[in-house]
């Protein structure tokens, strides 16, 4: 069994350029790994399409300036890939085949990456363990009794288990960064508007953002380079064109870093806090200015999330009604058709969120809850902006604890929101935020969160790359040579 997929992308690229390997070798290795590991990371595996694409790429010259050429990538199953199923891990879309490519998929294809398949996730991205998937929960490769995190659990597992070096996830309230933290990989939620949402099945439109999940910081920046582009099909997308790798390797001396007191309070476990403090020491020693700060409304993020995300979700998911596509349960009356289709089609967590969201928007509640939440959200964003006037970055742990046992949260639907208590602020304010490994606790990885100013991903990558190099954890065991 070959092990090309354990190599750094630069090495793989060199081998491709020198024609020592072909894209098909990488694709076959991906498939081998999917089948040898019982991780349940994928909902759909595109054997035929990926192999066909690999063989097509053989016929053309390897693009020497494109490190992503021929590299296998896994796509979260809420992003449309033409002719592949797009289930959102839901029974209601179990047999739904996409008839179009999401705008990010156009860009993935432009860079000639090879889509291996669609990854498992929480149903409609609602959850933080991937346990709400209709297709069963993927498991954490570090310990198969543990959750992989969510909602982009399958994508995180695909990358951490070296099935694919690259994956796309989506992040509405931490869904890229929390599983990245649980899997010892790097995950970025870019600035809202950086990556087109056209073709991403909407959960909460004002919070959703697609982002890269990779084994290291450099490759993450590289994938973000590929998928960031203004898209006329998404009115919330913005004009951006820059090289996110450009500051990697720069000296971090003099950087100003803010640590919200909230992020080092009782909400974080002692083990995680200790790891985090080691990072703070490292940064101080390296010449950064690190200050502890208070940020107004920072504790309100989970409440805002529940109101805004669920309100929007209740509307976004209304289209799954059995009339035009997806599961349809026949009934005598129209109302029964709606009821039966949606009752059978959606899982418990999705139904719970639709009901809460409908309640929140109902009648006077819209004013009491939703509109007020939007105001506080605006205030929260302003509080963060005022911190960014004096500081380059805001740091905290990416999750309050390491990956926990499967089925632990089943008794309490509120628990899953607490996992994302440290990372939702980025979604509320539209800020970019990255999770990268900061160490191991009891043989399980734990992530660090770096949050930046709007459209300042490059500075995040600069610090992340420095920390990655200093820690030299090499959790993924990526080899720099064959």
């Amino acid at each position: 069994m070959s092990k090309y997929l354990d190599l750094d992308l630069k090495i793989i690229h060199d081998l491709l350029v020198k024609k020592e390997i072909k894209p098909i070798d990488l694709v076959n290795e991906s498939f081998e790994r999917i089948n040898n590991n019982e991780l349940n990371a994928f909902i759909t595996i595109d054997y035929e399409g990926a192999r066909k694409k690999a063989l097509e790429l053989e016929k053309i010259d390897v693009e020497e300036d494109n490190l992503l050429f021929g590299i296998p990538i896994a796509i979260k199953d809420n992003i449309m890939v033409k002719d592949l199923k797009c289930t959102c891990a839901s029974h209601i879309l179990e047999n739904f085949i996409s008839i179009y490519d999401a705008s990010v998929i156009d860009l993935i294809n432009e860079k000639k990456m090879i889509i291996i398949g669609k990854t498992n996730m929480d149903e409609f991205a609602m959850g933080s363990t991937s346990e709400t998937s209709y297709f069963g929960c993927p498991v954490n490769p570090w310990n198969k009794k543990k959750v992989p995190g969510g909602s982009s659990g399958g994508s995180a597992v695909a990358v951490s288990s070296h099935i694919t070096p690259l994956a796309l996830g989506s992040d509405t309230g931490g869904s890229i960064r929390q599983p990245a933290s649980f899997n010892g990989i790097v995950g970025m939620k870019p600035t809202y508007g950086r990556v087109s949402r056209f073709g991403l099945v909407a959960f909460a439109s004002s919070l959703d953002q697609i982002g890269p999940m990779t084994r290291n910081v450099y490759e993450n920046a590289l994938l973000l380079n590929a998928i960031s582009k203004k898209d006329d099909k998404d009115l919330t997308s913005v004009e951006t064109s820059e090289d996110f790798t450009r500051l990697i390797g720069d000296d971090i001396k003099g950087m100003k870093i803010a640590i919200p007191n909230y992020f080092v309070s009782k909400i974080v476990s002692d083990e995680v806090l200790n790891k985090f403090k080691e990072i703070i020491e490292l940064l101080k020693v390296s010449g950064c200015q690190v200050d502890y700060v208070d940020i107004n409304h920072i504790d309100k993020a989970p409440i805002l999330y529940q109101i805004i995300a669920m309100g929007e979700a209740s509307s976004n998911l209304a289209r799954f009604d059995g009339i035009r596509y997806g599961l349809k349960v026949e009934a005598k009356t129209l109302e029964d058709l709606y009821k039966k289709t949606r009752s059978l089609g959606f899982g418990v967590e999705v139904k719970r969120r639709i009901m809460v969201g409908s309640y929140i928007l109902s009648g006077e509640n819209a004013k009491i809850y939703y509109n007020k939440a939007l105001q506080i959200r605006d205030d929260l964003k302003k509080s963060f902006d005022s911190i960014y006037k004096d500081y380059d970055l805001i740091l905290g742990p990416a999750s309050s604890r390491v990956a926990y046992d499967l089925n632990l949260n089943n008794d309490d639907p509120l628990k899953c929101f607490m996992d994302d208590i440290l990372v939702m602020h980025a979604n509320m304010g539209g800020f970019p935020s990255l999770a990268l490994p900061m160490g191991l606790i009891d043989e399980l990885p734990i992530g660090l969160q770096i949050m930046g100013k709007h459209f300042d991903e490059a500075t995040i990558y600069k610090l992340a790359s420095f920390i990655e190099k200093k820690l030299d954890l090499n959790l993924g065991g990526i080899k720099n040579e064959l």
Partner: protein, 469 residues
């Protein structure tokens, strides 16, 4: 004591844009069912709306001609409800921030000018069209996402006649502003009336009559409904808020559904469409492109001496009026007589609009000149109207081909005159000796010789010229 009617009117008007409001799909009535529907119109998962600026511009024009204040910062909302014709199960509309508000439409009620107050005008997307057959309901998504403006009056109308005058005026204003086709029969204009009756200042129970099929029927529906409500109240029964429809065959309103307490549409700001800012400059630029209104055209026609009856005939046929708008320096009266007479008759015969024919601007200019100069007669025009409209031949060629050529060809008229002079030497002598009546005789001979096809004025001038040589 009599009951007083209070009426509020809501009109949905489809905007005449090239594309739909939130997708690049073609907006065109009458195409094969579901041929104008893409993944956005069908509400496919993952799709997002874009915003058609042309629709916004037309809505600004509509708001302008309805004398509304125009909101500079635009934002949309979602109206959530489940129905098969509503592809996303929410409709994108402007609940909180209508594009126009506080306007009015002036009507002329038998010489009394009245202002019908407009509460607001807002943009929204149309639903798909449900076609009910025996057991099934079919859906045509061609209409889904077509841009609409909804125009809502205050409850300030009190008679069926006011309602009819308002709707006719509204239709004329929006038609002439180029905003909509305003065709009730094709569904591009749809009228709902809210009707209540009361003996005092406190408004009675509001009954909504939806989707009334013609302006006349709005009047009939209002009168029927007021009478029905009066009978119920006089029987000491209670009215409940409900939605009814008007059945033109039965000449009755029929219950559709009883309104449940507080319709819950769960409105919230549409997160997929950012704020759209209209600057003073943009608004002014849009307003500058509004075509001339019907009322300004009426004034112009009146000044040109066109009769009030003919003025209304032209205004009622917007194509003819638009055709006349091309000309800056022409006798509008002559032109309008041509258009309303033989031209319109011929257009009806061939079932075409004047803009679909070969009746060019240049042809009209020539014809009006010839008619005014007496070079041709209206009878002449009747003979050639088909050729003028249907062929690309020039007027002079058409006249020649139809044997009216001599009237414009001076050499032919000259030949006739020469012939008459040669054959009537004595009369010519008389003329030269001062007998004026001789000229009339000679002229009669010329007309006779030409079988009446020469223009008398031209012939007369030429004859005098020759005789005086």
């Amino acid at each position: 004591m009599n009951y007083k009617k209070t009426i509020g009117i809501e009109v949905h008007m489809e905007l005449k844009t090239k594309e739909k409001l939130f997708s690049p799909t073609i907006n065109n009535y009458g195409n094969l069912a579901n041929s104008n529907a893409n993944i956005i119109d069908l509400g496919y998962p993952g799709t997002l709306p874009t915003l058609n600026k042309e629709a916004v511009f037309l809505a600004v024009k509509a708001a302008t001609v309805l004398n509304c204040k125009i909101r500079k910062i635009q934002h949309f909302d979602r109206k959530n409800y489940f129905y098969p014709d509503n592809p996303k199960n929410f409709q994108i509309t402007e609940e909180r921030k209508p594009i126009g508000y506080d306007g009015y439409v002036e009507i002329d009620d038998d010489g009394i000018k009245k202002r019908i107050e407009i509460l607001e005008i807002h943009m929204e997307e149309d639903t798909s069209k449900s076609i009910h057959s025996k057991e099934k309901t079919l859906l045509d998504f061609n209409r889904a996402g077509v841009p609409l403006v909804e125009i809502v009056t205050k409850p300030c109308l009190h008679t069926a006649k006011e309602a009819i005058l308002y709707l006719e005026k509204l239709r004329e204003l929006l038609l002439y502003a180029g905003v909509s086709d305003c065709k009730i029969e094709e569904g591009s204009m749809r009228c709902d009336a809210n009707i209540s009756i009361s003996k005092n200042e406190k408004l009675g129970t509001k009954i909504e009559v939806k989707n009334i099929g013609s302006i006349t029927n709005v009047g009939l529906a209002i009168d029927y409904e007021a009478k029905r409500q009066e009978e119920i109240l006089e029987n000491n029964e209670t009215l409940h808020e409900e939605t009814r429809r008007y059945d033109a065959k039965l000449a009755k309103t029929i219950l559709m559904r009883v309104k449940e307490t507080g319709n819950d549409y769960r409105y919230f700001p549409e997160p997929d469409i950012p704020y759209l800012v209209l600057t003073e400059e943009i608004i002014k630029n849009i307003q500058d492109t509004i075509p001339t209104s019907a009322d300004i055209r009426r004034e112009k026609y009146l000044k040109a001496g066109i009769s009030p009856i003919n003025i209304e005939k032209i205004i009622a046929n917007k194509n003819l009026s638009d055709y006349l708008e091309q000309f800056t320096n022409i006798n509008l009266k002559t032109a309008s007589n041509l258009l309303l007479g033989d031209v319109q008759a011929h257009l009806n015969k061939i079932n075409k609009s004047i803009f679909e024919t070969n009746f060019t601007k240049e042809k009209m200019i020539t014809l009006v000149k010839y008619l005014d100069d007496g070079i041709i007669s209206h009878k002449n025009f009747k003979d050639i109207v088909g050729d003028v409209i249907e062929t690309d031949k020039e007027i002079d060629d058409i006249l020649k081909e139809n044997g009216i050529k001599n009237v414009v060809d001076n050499s032919l008229v000259f030949n006739i005159i020469q012939k008459v002079i040669n054959e009537n030497q004595k009369v010519v002598e008389d003329y030269k000796n001062g007998n004026e009546r001789s000229l009339k005789f000679l002229m009669g001979q010329v007309m006779k010789e030409s079988k009446g096809s020469v223009n008398p004025k031209v012939a007369n001038d030429l004859l005098v010229e020759v005789l005086n040589k």
